[in-house]
């Protein structure tokens, strides 16, 4: 009697398939997640980024300097965006518009011809050390390849003809913690804020308590904000904990203004909460809210520049990445903590978050009204 019944087992199997099929969102995720992961891992992610934006400061415009610049571009690791003065070069680095600034000193050409070893200054934005490693190792080889054939035999040196002085700006010791810790700040906030608010609203609906809440004089605005504020506080506590650990355990420098950092964090928390609330008004139950969160979380992790260098991704992936608040938040946090950026340099990464928030909010308000009536 108690043996394994194939037909019984088949019955359970069929019921389970029917239920999976009914839940169309889950079904979509089952198909969607592997495809997205394949696309992201297969095409978008590249831990050896190339075509990194580079500015050059040409104190010497001689043929050797020009040849070197051309060779840098040919190596495919650098994309020369132009020749600038020193001040502009600093600004470009601070604003994360370039990854490298290469400075050719006065008399670069002359020194080379005379067999003296001129010094080439390479400043790298090492706030994400992984993004610069490959390119710097290429620079070392370039010296030999470019100049050796053109130099007269006598001056042809046994060692490298130029000295490369690399300044790893913002993170001189190439500590990955400098990149990971601010990144985790964003990842943890994304995860908890979107998920918690998503669940908080769907839980009320799933248990039927939402109806009770709506039968009281409480207005939708009161309900929404009343449910959001506790999570803002939770988010701020999380941030404070992470920042304390960053400062005292990982010794991440904090150069910029702490007030500015908290302002940025608040903006980011609000963007994520808006998304969570919108998810919860679309999702019919907690399970779906959870799935939507993961659906959003996956590209946030992989395409924001948290796990893999942003500039290593193909253009389409960078476009997707630029929509995600986490991408901009990472740049904002690194900018404040490591570079000490002020509001003017931060603005280019603030408005995309605001735009994201506005769009999601509009969508949320629309769906919220529909589910009420």
């Amino acid at each position: 009697m108690n043996g394994f019944s194939f037909s019984r087992w088949l019955g359970i199997l069929i019921k389970e398939f029917i239920q999976i099929k009914r839940d169309r969102l889950t079904f979509g995720m089952i198909v969607g997640i592997p495809i997205i992961q394949l696309m992201l891992f297969g095409f978008a992610i590249n831990s050896d980024p190339k075509h990194l934006p580079t500015a050059v400061v040409m104190a010497d415009t001689g043929p050797f300097a020009r040849a070197y610049v051309a060779a840098m571009e040919n190596s495919e690791y650098f994309k020369i965006i132009g020749s600038v003065d020193e001040r502009e070069a600093d600004r470009l680095l601070d604003a994360s518009e370039v990854q490298f600034v290469v400075t050719f000193p006065v008399g670069f050409h002359r020194d080379l011809v005379r067999g003296k070893t001129p010094t080439l200054l390479v400043e790298a934005d090492a706030s994400d050390p992984m993004a610069v490693g490959g390119a710097i190792s290429v620079l070392n080889h370039l010296g030999m390849e470019v100049f050796a054939p053109d130099l007269p035999g006598l001056q042809r040196p046994a060692a490298a003809p130029i000295e490369l002085r690399v300044h790893r700006r913002y993170n001189p010791e190439s500590l990955t913690a400098y990149n990971i810790v601010p990144g985790l700040l964003g990842v943890i906030l994304t995860m908890t804020m979107v998920l918690m608010t998503g669940l908080a609203m769907t839980r009320e609906r799933e248990r039927g308590t939402f109806e009770n809440l709506l039968a009281t004089p409480a207005t939708p605005v009161e309900v929404m904000t009343g449910k959001i504020v506790p999570y803002i506080l939770i988010g701020l506590i999380q941030v404070t904990l992470i920042l304390l650990a960053a400062r005292w355990v990982f010794e991440v420098p904090m150069i910029g203004s702490l007030a500015l950092l908290y302002a940025v964090v608040l903006l980011f928390i609000c963007a994520n909460l808006t998304l969570g609330i919108t998810f919860s008004s679309i999702a019919r139950n907690q399970m779906q809210a959870m799935q939507m969160t993961f659906f959003f979380f996956l590209p946030s992790m992989l395409l924001s520049g948290f796990m893999f260098p942003f500039r290593g991704m193909p253009d389409w992936a960078q476009v997707v990445g630029n929509v995600l608040p986490l991408t901009h938040f990472l740049l904002l946090v690194r900018g404040i903590l490591l570079k000490g950026n002020g509001p003017a340099l931060l603005w280019p990464h603030v408005w995309p978050i605001l735009l994201f928030m506005g769009t999601v909010l509009a969508l949320g308000v629309k769906t919220f009204r529909r589910t009420l009536d």
Binding site: R207, G208, F210, E211, N212, A215, T216, P217, T219
Partner: protein, 310 residues
């Protein structure tokens, strides 16, 4: 305005969900202080109607007032004076009894919140268990707690959506005694139910099926409106004959009542004739009885089904 104002006075209320017409031209009048029963099969639009009356849903069209306030435009003000008990227990399982009552009191912005909560707990007889989680209460206690939470803000109108589903008979009787006490104190009660004994406890009734109000009035009026003639059949071997009785000319409705059978029809003479012919030679007895409320309801339900599925 009348001398005795209506607690609810609505006419021509409609509601669509997508292309489904859920409530059709609903008109209801409830006198102040009366207990009004709202009956109808599952999915007939009872819950939707109640939600429209308490301001949770906005009617597509129609007009009317609830406690003198416009149902279309003043739902916020209506909510403040109405106690609504949902079909499913909808207090927070993970809050204690005391916390639930306190939260509801806050939602209604009550001034003497603590006092009102303490009083409600005493009346419930739950002072000693105020720190127990609401989710751990039994069905009967959940229902009492839900009622207490609806009454906290001293509403003038109570809307109860199947309040006694899944509650034992003793708790059900206590519940109805409470409802009658409230009614005597001047509170108007609209209660939806599936139980006939509960329907008979109401002052007036309405029957709704497929979104349409089919009958309303006192229990006697509702029964009379159906013009039914009913005979009770009893005797040995009744069960084997049920199917054949159902097919008798003039029999519109056959329903089992324990060991007896009620057979009803609009055309009394025709049914009587065919019954007498059928029962000749059997040991079964037939007695003319007054049609019950249940006979009337089942007849209405059948009639409306024929009409809407045709």
């Amino acid at each position: 305005m009348n001398a005795v104002p209506f607690a609810i006075d609505v006419a021509g209320i409609n509601k669509h969900f997508g292309d489904k017409h859920v409530v059709k031209d609903l008109s209801l009048q409830l006198k102040q202080g009366e207990i009004f029963g709202f009956l109808g099969p599952n999915g007939s639009g009872k819950t939707t109607s109640i939600r429209m009356l308490c301001g949770l849903l906005t009617p597509d069209n129609g007009r009317g007032t609830c406690l003198g306030l416009d149902v279309l435009t003043q739902s916020a003000a209506i909510k403040r004076q109405v106690g609504y008990m949902t079909q499913k227990f909808s207090l927070w399982d993970d809050l204690t009894i005391g916390e639930n009552l306190d939260f509801v009191a806050r939602m209604f912005g009550m001034k003497e919140r603590k006092k009102a909560v303490a009083q409600a707990l005493t009346e419930l007889g739950l002072e000693g268990r105020r720190n127990q989680l609401a989710g751990t209460l039994s069905g009967g206690w959940k229902q009492r707690l839900a009622l207490a939470s609806c009454l906290l803000h001293q509403p003038k109108l109570l809307l109860l959506d199947e309040p006694t589903a899944g509650v034992d008979p003793k708790a059900r009787r206590d519940f109805w005694e409470e409802i009658h006490r409230l009614s005597a104190a001047g509170i108007t009660v609209l209660v939806s139910t599936h139980y006939m004994d509960e329907a008979e406890r109401c002052h007036r009734l309405a029957y709704i099926a497929y979104g349409t109000l089919l009958a309303s009035g006192t229990a006697d009026e509702v029964v009379a409106s159906q013009n039914l003639h009913t005979w009770q059949i009893s005797g040995e071997g009744l069960q084997d004959l049920t199917e054949r009785l159902r097919r008798l000319p003039g029999a519109d409705l056959v329903a089992s009542f324990g060991t007896t059978l009620h057979i009803s029809g609009k055309d009394g003479d025709k049914l009587k004739g065919s019954l007498e012919a059928f029962l000749q030679g059997t040991s079964l007895k037939m007695t003319a009885v007054a049609p019950s409320l249940e006979d009337a309801f089942i007849h209405m339900m059948q009639g409306s089904r024929d009409q809407f599925q045709a």
